[in-house]
Symmetry: C2
Subunit: 808 residues, 2 copies
């Protein structure tokens, strides 16, 4: 491969650094109206009435709409493809404005005004009368006997779904495993560990807030320009939310400043569309503040994992069990998918000799809604699995690396629950690479027996991550290519650039497959559902794999069409095309080609004899070079003999999947009296198959590691259990790592050629964020012997634990 | 046909009436910068230097660029397809800002400022030093011996092209015709007429001024949102003007408020792009005022026609000749195409028994540039031909209708110069219809012998108009169709809606051919060269014929793909697709289909057995109805078995052409002392083949007739012959007909099925404007016996002529 695998500069680098790149807000029209959402000030209850009198007096207010004016349409917000099988359809459990209040800050009304100040002022002056119920903020409260259901029309209790899965026999249970183990290994000492591990609710903290602007064009067709990862899904859900046909909705996605899964939900686009429709189609903008974003959009699920493990004394895992309880907040969003994904990966990470038992509950509570966030349940799964694994290894004093190498899943494994296969699996090589980097063998033992208040430790964690969502859900993607007059091409992907570098790798793929030079591939970064090929969007680390294959297939067809026209020119150079400015050049090239291939005068040139290399049409094999693709393009456009606009459009319905894997190794220094953990060294080692662009891949890993550090050490969104109010919905009180908090981030790759990836590649987007927190946790264990079961491992939690253990 | 031919409401009617429809200026971004062009205050010369000192002091000025900063790239502005044959390429004779000044108001610099006032103020404060030459405003001056050439690098004199054409022998001349006639008809009295007819320079007066806004996106890619008829051509020419690859330019065309050919030139889009590039890619708007538009964009050519005609005494035309001199102004724009077109139609309108001699000159002058305007030389051709025809008939006292019916071209005629064929030709039926409407036979004779100061008259004129530009230039067009989840479709045409109703008729065509209901065809009205199929644009009344055929071919392919998937579903209803929500419905439909067609269990359903009617999949022939297209669409999108995004994209390279024709009949009242002509009754009768939508067709004719009234009675753009300054570049002094000036406009159609039209249709856009002025002129002749040889026939001109003839 010539272009795939090269460390090319991002195609959007210059535009983004200079500010030339246009984001949603950069192109808002002049004289746009400003929307402002009115949020409930109770966490559970019902709006009885509004008094708009004072609010309507604010100069500049154009319109106030309330939940009593909103379309009576329930809609789903999850960024999932729709399903023609009803049991796979997402849960429709909210309206654009809700009369039934299910979280503190629920959307109950909205103001449209000539300016932002008037909108905010009017929003504050709206008086609301509520019927108030007891907030149900925790999973325990929500699952308690007699708890009031939050969505009584959909569920008689608050459990969205409870699923039960096993590895091994379908009726396998952990308790049966213990009995079986005793029978299989009579007299042998078996060791069981039972722990409860806990993960926090956290916020995505994408740099660009959810922002959109909407207007109505001819015949009621509503357009929403918005910062989303999933334009085509936003289109469908907006139509559902407004009760209009999907053909009457248009979504445009410019560059976006990150999403991390929060913009894989349909957030405020339907409301924004409704606001414009409420003011005669005038453009209305709606920007959600940081405070609103943190408490009112989506969060990563706080999942509690009650785990059990059973092993032999020499460290073979016999059985594991997890009961995972996910706090989903007020609305279903992605439903049970995330907690189920968590359970699946917990199960797939190790070979349990006898079996694995998994129970997952996803529960409605009157608190901020949880949805997709980078990792989609796997950061929690890996927290549970990798805490448990180290705790198991620790019980027998075994080197945790050795323990993992002994028990981890093998290449070729097929998950019987869903058929996903480890087509390629470089995990063991990743572990060896990480060990070597951090000098594990020397340090781990050395750090086991330290004394004093400041100690060092090394720790590690592994992960696996599937690539896309097949066969759990649909994987479908299209690409379109258009030839320009100058021999350059437009590449139109339904798949979306969300800051992760998708545009760059798709451009590389297109160049690789078509033979058109990389600098002549103009990717159309903006998706516009009116014209962009369909794709479900940026999530599940699916795009290079699923959409990448669409790009490859389309490129093959496109290249074929160019060569077909080139062959036509080479066959006609003496007749119809003889008057063009290219006639001599083509005639001369035809001569060289005929000579090179020894073609007889009566034999036609065919497309199969030709190839494209570096934007030149060449004879297959590369020699001789005939003419520039621009000669074909210009002729195809403007020939009076045969004008054809060369384009190709292809759907890829992906019916495969494969696992990425990797690990994180860290070395920490723990200052016990200060409760301070300092990451002294860290490396992520990834098997993501063949890398399309090692430079952008490394950047992707850097970002993920940074998020992992926050997940491990500082990030937690706090909700008051009594009132349901978010306590730290701002970036002063909610702590993401700054540059000052971040050590040098090291990245290594093991590049295996995955047989199912379009270019041997597999997922990379989400994985980097997954293993960092448990690796830190396990390093603290190595340093201090203390088992931290709850992340983030803040000073408060560490000091409490160190005190409990008598270390300080 | 079910949908084609129906009087459906325009698809953009509601949006345009309510203001929902968004035009270029409606979507300008906030904080946009304002551009202002600095125009030369001499008509011929050269800029020596600028003094920007005072201008730069104006608060808010961001940047001033001058002709010395502009890219040194000559570019063409004509809305023609490019050609790969160099002799067909347009003339590149200007830059975005010109150092060499060739007309009063030439673009020499531009200001970019934070607001309009600052931009205008700074523009006024720029001091310019010129080297000044004598203005050459008239054709006579420009062609005079020793006249300074305006483009010495391109032409040694000011004649852009002189072309000589004949009908009959290739060496036919009018003088040879006289000699031949004398030989053929010895002793017979032959009558010759020689007259000079003159046409004015006029302005398009589209309601929306030329407006655009531009910004640079990532990697220097420049986007221009603009009011143009020809987005893809603007893209190419902007790239040429800036010296950048075409792939780096993006043009977006929203709704536009008319163009009439003025926006078939690339006007200020390249300059606007350059201005944004000059300020780091920030959005910059550029709106050209009415005054600038009238004097600085394009005009209809003032053409002088020196005509001769020779006939027998019984009214058979033997020979004609025209020498046509077109004043092209400062830049080539469309080059010689318009004057040549004028000569062609003069020739094609009648059968000259011996031959016709045509000489055409297109001449540079230092005056406003002439370009395309509704009719493209034919209003002038028909003015010349139809003045001459009435003058010939008048010489022998013959009924002008009878004279025309005797001499006009016949169906099946092939123009030997270009091969264009009268495939269908309803002219004679149009004349009969018009005669009957106006009660010609009774009135024409009656009005011949009136006395008194106020007299009545009837007059008429005929025309023919070819459909598109094949084979003179390239005719190529693409269409793309996309199926939506709800069974509706997006129709993406490269062809453009410019107010003429294109969106509506394309939607009808798509509905007709695909079977998808008209209300489920969502046309994507905005062209965006990044994604829109290629089409050369709205001109030459080509779109329903050329682009319409692309729409038809695309619709056939699209329908085929939907039916292929429907057949797949009908064959698989019992197996793979059995879990979908549509399974029972499809299974039941398959049963009915198999019963209806008597299909055996082992026989597959094929697409050919199926059809789409009213958005329902039916068995070919219409019965039984199986299921909604939405069932196919939703399944095709979301099937876990086979997901495919159904789209189709097709190029139509049109290699045919045909003539539309028609006539105008008017009845006028002439108040000779007041010089006042009042149109009492008027009818246009058109043969435009089968009408796609009679209601919008009639509206198109109304607009054309109104322009024809202005051309006949009031419109003339005056340029001072000494200074080259435009004297009436505003709508107070330049007189277009208002509603008060406009009589009831009557329209009749003769619908012949043209064998080459996609639905039997042929051109209609430009023709209505053509015959009105000469019909009025001939009615004045009928009323008063006065031959008006110059239009517009203003009070001044009429009174002068009536005085000359002793009538007042």
């Amino acid at each position: 491969m010539k272009i795939v695998g090269q460390e090319l500069k991002r195609v959007d680098a210059y535009g983004k650094v200079t500010g030339e790149a246009k984001y949603t807000a950069d192109l808002e029209p002049r004289d746009i109206l400003h929307g402002k959402v009115v949020h409930a000030t109770i966490a559970n209850g019902r709006v009885k009435s509004f008094d708009l009198t004072e609010a309507m007096k604010v100069p500049g207010v154009v319109k106030i709409v309330t939940c009593f004016d909103a379309p009576d349409c329930q809609f789903p917000t999850a960024g999932h493809p729709w399903s023609v099988e009803s049991k796979h359809q997402d849960i429709c459990d909210r309206r654009v404005l809700n009369e039934r209040v299910r979280l503190y800050g629920d959307d109950i009304a909205a103001v449209v005004a000539e300016n932002e100040v008037a909108a905010a002022q009017a929003a504050r002056l709206i008086k609301v009368e509520y019927e108030e119920y007891e907030p149900i903020v925790t999973v325990e409260a929500a699952m308690a006997e007699g708890a009031t259901p939050l969505h009584p029309d959909l569920r008689k209790d608050n459990v969205i779904v409870h699923s039960h899965m096993t590895m091994g026999d379908s009726d396998f249970t952990f308790d049966k495993g213990i009995l079986a183990a005793r029978e299989m290994y009579p007299g042998e000492e078996l060791i069981a560990v039972e722990e409860e591990y806990d993960t926090p609710r956290i916020s995505h903290c994408h740099i660009e807030l959810p922002v959109s602007w909407a207007y109505v064009d001819t015949n009621g067709k509503v357009t929403v320009v918005c910062s989303t990862q999933i334009p085509h899904i936003v289109r469908r859900c907006t139509a559902q939310a407004l009760g209009i046909p999907v053909g009457q909705v248009r979504i445009i996605k410019p560059y976006i400043g990150g999403g991390f899964g929060n913009k894989q939900d349909v957030l405020y686009e339907p409301l924004n569309a409704f606001l414009s429709m409420s003011v005669g189609g005038r453009p209305v903008r709606l920007e959600i503040s940081r405070e609103e974003t943190i408490s009112g959009t989506r969060t990563r699920h706080a999942i509690k994992g009650k785990c059990k493990g059973l092993m032999t004394k020499d460290g073979r895992i016999l059985a594991r069990k997890i009961d995972a309880f996910a706090n989903n907040g007020a609305y279903a969003s992605h439903g049970h998918a995330i907690c189920a994904n968590c359970g699946n990966v917990f199960k797939d990470l190790y070979r349990d000799e006898l079996g694995c038992e998994v129970d997952c509950w996803t529960v409605y509570t009157s608190s901020p809604t949880a949805g997709a966030m980078r990792g989609y349940g796997i950061p929690q799964a890996v927290w549970f699995a990798e805490c448990l694994t180290d705790d198991l290894a620790d019980r027998i004093g075994m080197d945790p690396c050795e323990f993992r190498l002994k028990n981890c899943m093998e290449e070729g494994f097929v998950d019987p629950a869903n058929g996903i296969t480890f087509h390629s699996y470089g995990l063991k090589r990743c572990i060896e690479e990480g060990k070597s980097y951090i000098r594990w063998d020397e340090k781990w033992k050395q750090y086991r027996n330290q004394t004093g208040p400041v100690r060092k430790g090394v720790g590690m964690a592994i992960f696996c991550y599937k690539t896309g969502v097949h066969p759990i859900s649909l994987e479908t993607s299209s690409a379109r290519m258009v030839l320009n007059q100058d021999g350059s091409m437009q590449l139109c992907m339904g798949a979306t650039e969300i800051g992760q570098g998708a545009d760059t790798v798709f451009s590389q793929m297109a160049s690789e497959t078509t033979g058109i030079s990389f600098d002549k591939v103009y990717i159309v970064s903006t998706q516009d559902t009116d014209t962009t090929p369909f794709d479900t969007g940026a999530y599940a680390s699916r795009q290079t794999y699923v959409s990448g294959m669409a790009c490859k297939k389309c490129g093959e067809e496109f290249r074929g069409k160019i060569l077909e026209y080139a062959a036509y020119m080479l066959n006609h150079d003496l007749t119809d095309l003889s008057k063009t400015v290219y006639a001599d050049q083509v005639k001369e090239a035809a001569g060289r080609l005929r000579e090179a291939l020894g073609l007889g005068a009566d034999e036609d040139v065919t497309a199969e004899m030709l190839d494209i290399v570096d934007s030149k049409v060449v004879v297959s094999g590369g020699d001789p070079v005939l003419f520039d693709v621009a000669v074909v393009a210009d002729t195809a456009f403007y020939s009076l003999d045969r004008s054809v606009h060369i384009t190709a459009e292809v759907t890829n319905h992906c019916k495969d999947n494969t696992f990425s894997s990797g690990c994180c190794f860290v070395e920490v220094e723990v200052d016990m009296p200060l409760g301070l953990v300092t990451v002294k060294d860290i490396v992520n080692v990834h098997d993501s198959g063949v890398l399309i662009n090692p430079k952008t891949a490394a950047a992707q890993v850097h970002g993920g590691m940074s998020m992992g550090l926050g997940y491990g050490l500082s990030e937690e969104l706090l909700v008051d259990e009594k009132t349901g109010k978010t306590l730290n919905n701002n970036l002063l009180d909610y702590k993401i790592p700054t540059a000052m908090d971040t050590p040098e981030l090291n990245v290594r790759f093991i590049q295996l050629d995955d047989p199912t990836g379009p270019y041997g590649n597999k997922s990379l987007g989400e994985p980097p964020a997954i293993p960092v927190a448990p690796a830190i946790r396990n390093a603290i264990l190595n340093a201090t012997g203390v088992h931290m079961n709850m992340t983030p491992m803040t000073a408060q939690r560490l000091i409490a634990k160190f005190k409990e253990k008598g270390l300080i």
